[in-house]
């Protein structure tokens, strides 16, 4: 049985200007121990999807899904109490900016211990301390005993991100969602953190969702990849084959516009013209149609479905039915 299964997930917000649906009709499956990369530009709904999985969406959001299950538990019908038992325990999350996601007025040791107090109440004080040292050791924080009693401002960004990872690993989660875990960090530190995440994944056998806007980060670190555009998944597949032979025009555009994609020195980079659609005025039919270079008239009429891992009428050849 799949660890996480999401089927036709849509998220709607009621705003003053009317309802908007920043995430619609998303389906995916993660098996135990698998790593999944999610790429997309800002506003494509990748973070909202994660928040929905963790049950952290604000009250004005409505989540609709045919199925959303974690290891057999139906996430849609969980009560707050039941959420508490899963969130931070079997499923945990690390965020983009470690400086703002840690509480500045408590020591990092105290903040991690909180997780243990909540989810591992059978441990006594001594055992908790032992587990804390173990965790710091695992995420590679030197001199753990001293570091535990420090405050977030006394540490560097990379160290704070290690603290966040230690916190999320405190209860040996089965699924770790890392939402842009290295965007706020320098490249050499990014490299360290990504390596650490992969090592931990191998050691513990947890599943990993790595969300990022940087194709380079997922290219080397995940086995499966899904590309999102305007709240929809437009293409999914094996990371390497998707990167080397993209099929959806958006994926192709995204990869081609990357400066590190073997373009001759100072040659004009191919770019995707236009802008992401305004969610209040979504285009009819295919969301990418206004920016697409291979679009035909029919793309405007019919919303493409996910067929054979791609959401594009032209690529999947499903235009035939119209003629």
């Amino acid at each position: 049985m799949a660890l996480l299964e999401v089927k036709n997930l849509s998220i709607t917000f009621d705003t003053k200007k009317g309802p908007i649906t920043p995430v619609r009709d998303i389906s995916f499956v993660i098996e135990k121990g698998q790593s999944l990369g999610v790429v997309g530009e800002s506003g494509c709904g990748k973070s909202l999807t994660n928040l929905a999985l963790m049950g952290l969406l604000p009250d004005n959001a409505t989540v609709k899904a045919e199925k959303m299950s974690f290891d057999g538990n139906d996430l849609k019908s969980l009560s707050n109490n039941e959420w508490q038992k899963i969130r931070g325990n079997r499923m945990s999350m690390i965020f983009q900016d470690p400086m703002t996601s840690l509480n500045p007025s408590f020591t990092v040791g105290y903040q991690i211990e909180e997780t243990l107090k909540l989810h591992r109440s059978e441990l006594n004080k001594v055992q908790r301390k032992k587990r804390l040292l173990e965790l710091f050791d695992m995420v590679g924080i030197p001199d753990p005993a001293r570091r535990l009693s420090q405050y977030p401002h006394e540490m560097s960004g990379g160290m704070n991100q290690r603290v966040m990872i230690a916190m999320s690993m405190a209860c040996d989660p089965e699924l770790l969602i890392a939402d842009e875990p290295t965007t706020a960090l320098d490249v050499t530190i990014q490299d360290q953190i990504l390596n650490l995440l992969l090592d931990l994944q191998k050691q513990t056998g947890m599943a990993l969702i790595l969300v990022t806007h940087d194709l380079g980060v997922v290219a080397q670190n995940t086995s499966k990849l899904q590309v999102m555009y305007a709240g929809e998944i437009v293409e999914t597949g094996d990371t390497q084959s998707l990167i080397h032979s993209p099929r959806h025009p958006y994926t192709r555009g995204l990869l081609n516009s990357h400066a590190g994609h073997g373009h001759p020195f100072r040659s004009p980079l191919p770019s995707i013209s236009g802008l992401v659609p305004d969610l209040f005025h979504r285009p009819k039919g295919c969301q990418f149609k206004p920016r697409c270079d291979i679009a035909v008239k029919e793309c405007e009429l019919e919303q493409p479905q996910m067929i054979d891992c791609v959401r594009c009428l032209k690529v999947t050849g499903s235009l035939g039915g119209q003629q």
């Binding site: 490249v187 050499t188 290219a219 990357h258 400066a259 590190g260 020195f265 980079l269 770019s271």
Partner: protein
């Protein structure tokens, strides 16, 4: 031509009990840059790239060293002429534009401050610069919040260009933008440089962007240049261990090649290690690196500061 000779910027930290220490944000940086060329400056946060930009621009007073423009010290220029020579494009187009001003007002501001042009001349100049950077006439009356990130960065570029500067400092001009928009802005920057014969100082942490655009590369570490030379030399045959580490840790689209990440972090600039600033993280450090600081020397067609490179 712009030449920088032994430029330094030290900050004195004061505490209640007198002097607390010195931060050597920029410590003896020298380079020459020919007209129409682009120099890429790479390095991690805290390496002094932004301090370099600010010192060049005159936003920070330099502690020692000199900046020469066409052989003349920049001190000989009047502030207004300095602003007409060097301009800067900032990183974040969301926070560097005044939200209460319209697009054309934002672009006209440098003209109002530094020139004595009449209103209609200013309007004309603004219109021509807007066309140059690819903003349409109807954008003139819009406020920044009504525009997309890419368009805002175009405003940032337009207001830097409106005084017809010779040198443009670009401080991470695309890192706040989405990938598909980045390409548009990079294309624009290349086009502008070719058309206007601008000299670029391109500061970025994204090596692939620098590799696409700059003829010369300088790698900085803790206020000093550790390796500097032509693009090909740096990207294909880097010799300094820090440059090598930077290149391998940069995420690429190809399958993973096995490498061990660089250990440790940037040391505190308040208390830099003795000898080579990099020796604590360096995989090839020897005894000498703990004691003496390596000088920049010419090796294999580029400058590098490392004892172990001959």
């Amino acid at each position: 031509m712009i030449e920088i000779v032994d430029l330094g910027k030290h900050y004195q930290l004061k505490s209640l009990f007198g002097k607390a220490g010195t931060v050597k944000a920029l410590d003896g940086v020298s380079f020459k840059l020919e007209k129409g060329r682009a120099l890429g400056i790479v390095g991690e946060s805290g390496c002094g790239k932004s301090t370099l930009a600010k010192t060049l621009l005159g936003l920070e007073k330099r502690t020692f060293g000199d900046i020469l423009i066409d052989g003349k010290s920049i001190d000989e220029l009047k502030p207004q002429d300095r602003h007409k020579t060097i301009q800067m494009v900032f990183q974040d187009p969301y926070s560097s534009l005044n939200p209460r001003k319209k697009c054309w007002q934002l672009i006209a501001e440098p003209l109002l401050i530094n020139t004595k042009l009449k209103t209609n001349e200013i309007r004309e100049k603004v219109d021509s610069v807007m066309a140059l950077v690819g903003l349409r006439p109807e954008h003139a009356e819009r406020y920044p919040h009504m525009m997309s990130g890419g368009q805002r960065q175009r405003i940032g570029i337009a207001r830097a260009l409106v005084l017809d500067p010779k040198v443009l400092i670009l401080d991470e001009p695309v890192s706040a933008l989405d990938v598909s928009i980045q390409a548009q802005v990079l294309n624009l920057l290349i086009k502008l440089q070719d058309e206007l014969k601008l000299t670029y100082l391109f500061i970025s942490h994204d090596l692939s962007v620098v590799n696409h655009l700059c003829d010369q590369i300088a790698v900085m570490y803790l206020g000093k240049v550790v390796e500097m030379g032509p693009r090909k030399q740096i990207f294909e045959e880097a010799v300094h261990p820090y440059t090598k580490a930077l290149l391998t840790s940069c995420p690429s689209l190809d399958p993973k090649t096995q490498h061990t990440p660089l250990k440790g972090e940037l040391p505190s600039p308040l208390n830099p290690p003795e000898g080579c600033a990099f020796h604590k993280r360096c995989p090839i450090a020897v005894d000498q690196c703990h004691k003496t600081r390596p000088e920049l020397k010419k090796v294999h067609g580029r400058f590098t500061a490392c004892h172990e490179v001959h």
